[in-house]
């Protein structure tokens, strides 16, 4: 497993991007993120995954809320909806209910998702809306310049917690599992290859897939979720891990000391659209 302990700089990536032919899925404008931001690997990974999956750009929609992460749709050459802080999931749900043929990729930051958007995740998951939700977790509010987020560690010093954060962080993986998400995985911006594989699998999954991506904010977090720290901590899920075993997934997800990368849980069940088709069938049967 290759570990990146150095930030990935945009400059270094430029030719690679151009060479890759992945530009089909990339807008002309290059991301305006800070050099070294983990998000570059994600936009990389998504376009690579889309290329390899051969997705049709005009049938693909990227939906986001507000935040650095949520700038994502502007950097993609697909249809995009840059919505409101915390509301990407309900917007995406509306899109899928109205047009189930579309491939919908939802992205957002940790604050966007677990703070202001917290009421929507359980329902997108339990309804098994057929979308892919990629969560950019940098453990901080980037766009507003460095406040604590629901995934910030205790003791984290920010502009709103100058005397250190005292709130215990949330555990997104156990949460998503408890919501009934039919596919749950974790990746790390510092491991672009694995990240890309995960993105492919997530988009491939029929139903609600949740991909949690650990991604350093090089500008507002020098102490906590840095490349240095993460690269030392992360491990792959043990080979013997059985992604069809919910209890096992729950147990693995409880290990917050050592963030494990890979697919925690994967199962097939009817999507929201399936359910709605049944409803229509029953209604027409009368």
């Amino acid at each position: 497993m290759m570990n990146v302990t150095e930030p990935v700089y945009l400059e270094d990536k430029l030719e690679e991007i151009e060479g890759s032919g992945k530009l089909a899925y990339r807008a002309e404008v290059l991301p305006t993120w800070c050099p070294g931001c983990g998000y570059f690997s994600i936009v990389e990974g998504v376009s690579k995954a889309m290329t390899e999956l051969g997705l049709d750009q005009r049938e693909t929609v990227c939906v986001s809320g507000i935040g650095c992460a949520s700038r994502f749709p502007f950097f993609m050459n697909t249809y995009g909806f840059h919505s409101l802080h915390g509301r990407a999931l309900p917007v995406a749900t509306g899109i899928k209910v109205a047009n189930d043929d579309l491939t919908v990729v939802v992205v957002g930051g940790d604050g966007d998702a677990f703070a202001i958007g917290g009421a929507h995740i359980p329902h997108a998951a339990r309804r098994n809306v057929d979308i892919t939700y990629i969560l950019f977790d940098n453990g901080v509010y980037g766009l507003t310049k460095g406040q604590t987020s629901p995934t910030s560690v205790v003791g984290f010093k920010t502009t709103t917690t100058p005397y250190l954060n005292v709130d215990q962080p949330l555990n997104p993986l156990t949460m998503l599992l408890s919501y009934g998400a039919s596919w749950v995985a974790q990746a790390y911006a510092g491991e672009p290859h694995h990240l890309t594989e995960m993105i492919k699998a997530a988009i491939d999954h029929r139903g609600f897939s949740y991909l949690h991506v650990l991604s350093p904010c090089v500008t507002f977090d020098k102490t906590s979720m840095t490349y240095q720290n993460l690269s030392m901590k992360v491990r792959p899920l043990p080979d013997e891990h059985d992604a069809s075993d919910f209890a096992a997934a729950m147990t693995a997800a409880q290990n917050i000391e050592v963030p494990q990368l890979g697919v925690y849980f994967s199962s097939e069940r009817p999507t929201l659209a399936d359910g709605m088709d049944d409803v229509v069938a029953r209604a027409k049967a009368g």
């Binding site: 049938e59 909806f81 840059h82 749900t93 509306g94 109205a98 579309l102 209604a283």
Partner: protein, 602 residues
């Protein structure tokens, strides 16, 4: 009964009982039957507050041969299914009006607990053994409400057959026995009514215009709204329950799937409007429905709809406010929120129908406008309009256009597609996901024509103008009344300017006033945003004095009008939780007619 024909009918029946007595059901059968018989019917039921229990229900129906516009403040007949609830309403029975009640209370009641001891001398008492008859005929007391309706029908010489039809259709699906026993209960009551000695004027006259029975249907404002959505071809609906809008979602939930439509009860109102906008973004016709508290929560997302220029329709049925307020009482106090409740200069279209037929029209047209002008549209109802029943005639053929979206020209240069292109009519050709090679991102950030975030002064200035100006043509939108004047033409002494459900009472008051020889006319304003300033100014300038009656405390519409026209108006505000009284409006008209320019005095 030749005399019947040349005898105008205008009787109002009030049926009062507790939630358990089948009060609403009884009223329902009555109004359905009389509409079937070709009468003009306006009905409004009053429910107990949201919390369950044995609260009071009142079903009121005004049955007339001529077109009328509201209920009367006095009823001609009160039927008591529960004296404890009905006694306070004896006072609403007019002189020589009749009171029908059960003369066999289960137990001997306490002193004063029986309604008969509360009647005025001028009231005609009819004590009938509802319960006993019901038990005899159906071996249960549960049909006593039907017996009461039957008695009323017999007493007033109403045609039994239409009642039979209504009962049959109402219980279709239920067991045959049930239908039969209910019908039997009705007939028994009917006979008792026929056998009762009664005075001539209890009888009702002939229905208005003959042979129209078939196409006259009894409909509530909510039902008409639902019909409008269906005829406009609604694809998706997202809603969260809240009184008095819940019924809209409930009716759509049973109708839409039959047509392949999709409905989702979301986790809250924010997600309801978010999903509506998400669906609208794909090109679908989508809507949500809520009340004031829900609209408050939708405020931010409505602003996104305006900024990203996404079609969306929101039905908002007002109730008593502020806050949770009075969920089962009517009020018109969410106008400010509907028109002004958005961060920044986030305009949208706001329509407020004034009657049941208007609900149908506005509902359907709302989808057209949302699409045509790429904007959120709010249709502002209120509890009184949502739950009020009128005998209406819907157009034979579907009046709504299927697709009003301005699509990009086929062979237009697709490369640099500009979602927010500045055009002559300020509406930009709109591509949706699935369209080839017009990929773009919509956003709530200010943006250039391509949709790229920008905070350049000239761009914000140009886009602000675009978003404002593109809505103005809505003021000339075909097939819907934007504003309309009634009554005397030209200069008049008194003008009444109204909106929403209250306009029915306004019309009644104006008609009365004109009978009294006061020169006056009334104008209804259906489009509240953008506001038809021109026509309103014309109207105001034609009137010596202008009165604006509305059911809120802060005179929200009056202030809106003055703010937009620089014209002073007189305000008449009531917040009783009940419809405005025709008499209160009339009184103000008289005062204004009596002495002009008491404006300063106000």
């Amino acid at each position: 009964m030749a005399n019947k024909d040349n005898h105008k009918t205008d009787i109002q029946i009030a049926i009062c009982g507790s939630a358990g007595d089948g009060t609403i059901a009884a009223g329902d059968i009555l109004k359905q039957a009389m509409a079937k018989a070709g009468y003009n019917v306006i009905a409004f039921d009053v429910y107990p507050p949201e919390i369950r229990g044995f609260g009071k229900c009142i079903a009121r129906a005004r049955i007339t041969s001529e077109q009328v516009y509201s209920l009367k403040s006095e009823s001609d007949c009160l039927i008591s299914l529960d004296d404890s609830h009905a006694i306070p309403h004896v006072s609403e029975v007019c002189k020589f009006g009749s009171v029908i009640y059960d003369d066999t209370p289960i137990s001997s009641v306490a002193e004063g607990a029986h309604i008969s001891s509360h009647l005025a001398p001028a009231h005609l008492p009819y004590g009938v053994a509802f319960r006993e008859i019901s038990e005899r005929i159906t071996s249960s007391a549960r049909s006593r409400n039907i017996v009461a309706v039957g008695y009323l029908a017999g007493l007033y010489d109403m045609p039994a057959d239409v009642f039979h039809q209504v009962i049959a259709s109402k219980f279709s699906g239920k067991s045959k026995e049930l239908t039969q026993s209910v019908t039997a209960a009705f007939d028994a009551g009917f006979q008792a009514g026929v056998d009762t000695f009664r005075l001539h004027f209890d009888r009702i006259g002939a229905p208005r215009g003959r042979g129209r029975q078939t196409d006259l249907v009894m409909m509530s404002g909510n039902a008409a709204t639902v019909q409008g959505c269906l005829d406009a071809g609604i694809d998706a609906f997202f809603g969260y329950p809240i009184t008095p809008a819940t019924r809209i979602m409930e009716m759509l939930a049973s109708e839409m799937p039959k047509r392949g439509g999709r409905l989702l009860q979301t986790e809250d109102e924010i997600s309801a409007i978010a999903a509506t906008i998400g669906a609208g973004y794909t090109g679908a016709r989508a809507a949500t429905a809520t009340s004031g508290p829900g609209l408050a929560l939708m405020s931010e997302m409505m602003g996104l709809g305006a900024m990203a220029e996404v079609p969306a329709v929101a039905f908002v049925s007002q109730r008593g406010g502020p806050s949770t307020g009075m969920p089962t009482k009517t009020e018109q106090s969410d106008l400010n929120l509907a028109v002004f409740g958005v961060a920044g200069d986030g305009q949208r279209i706001v329509l407020a129908p004034t009657n049941v037929e208007g609900c149908y029209k506005c509902a359907g047209k709302a989808f057209e406008m949302a699409e045509k002008f790429q904007t959120p549209v709010i249709v502002l109802l209120d509890l009184y309009l949502s739950n009020r029943y009128e005998a209406v005639q819907l157009p034979a053929k579907n009046p709504f256009a299927a697709d009003c979206s301005k699509a990009p020209r086929r062979n237009a240069n697709q490369a640099g597609y500009s979602r927010y292109k500045l055009t002559g009519d300020n509406v930009s050709p709109r591509a949706v996901p699935g369209d080839p090679d017009r990929m773009h991102t919509v956003t709530g950030l200010e943006h250039d024509e391509r949709g790229r975030p920008s905070d350049q002064p000239q761009i914000h200035q140009a886009m602000s103008r675009k978003r404002h100006d593109k809505l103005l043509p809505a003021l000339k939108y075909p097939g819907i009344t934007i504003s309309k004047r009634f009554g005397d033409k030209g200069k008049v002494d008194v003008g009444i300017l109204g909106w929403g459900s209250t306009f029915g009472e306004i019309l009644e008051a104006m008609i009365e006033a004109r009978k009294e020889g006061i020169s006056c006319s009334a104008m209804k304003v259906v489009m509240l945003s953008p506001l038809p300033v021109g026509p309103i100014i014309e109207f105001i300038d034609d009137c010596g004095e202008v009165l604006v009656p509305e059911l809120n405390y802060e005179a929200q519409f009056a202030s809106l009008v003055t703010g937009a026209t620089d014209r002073p108006v007189h305000r008449l505000n009531r917040v009783a939780g009940t419809p405005m009284r025709v008499g209160d409006i009339l009184e103000q008209i008289r005062i204004l007619a009596g002495r002009g320019g008491l404006l300063a005095a106000e």
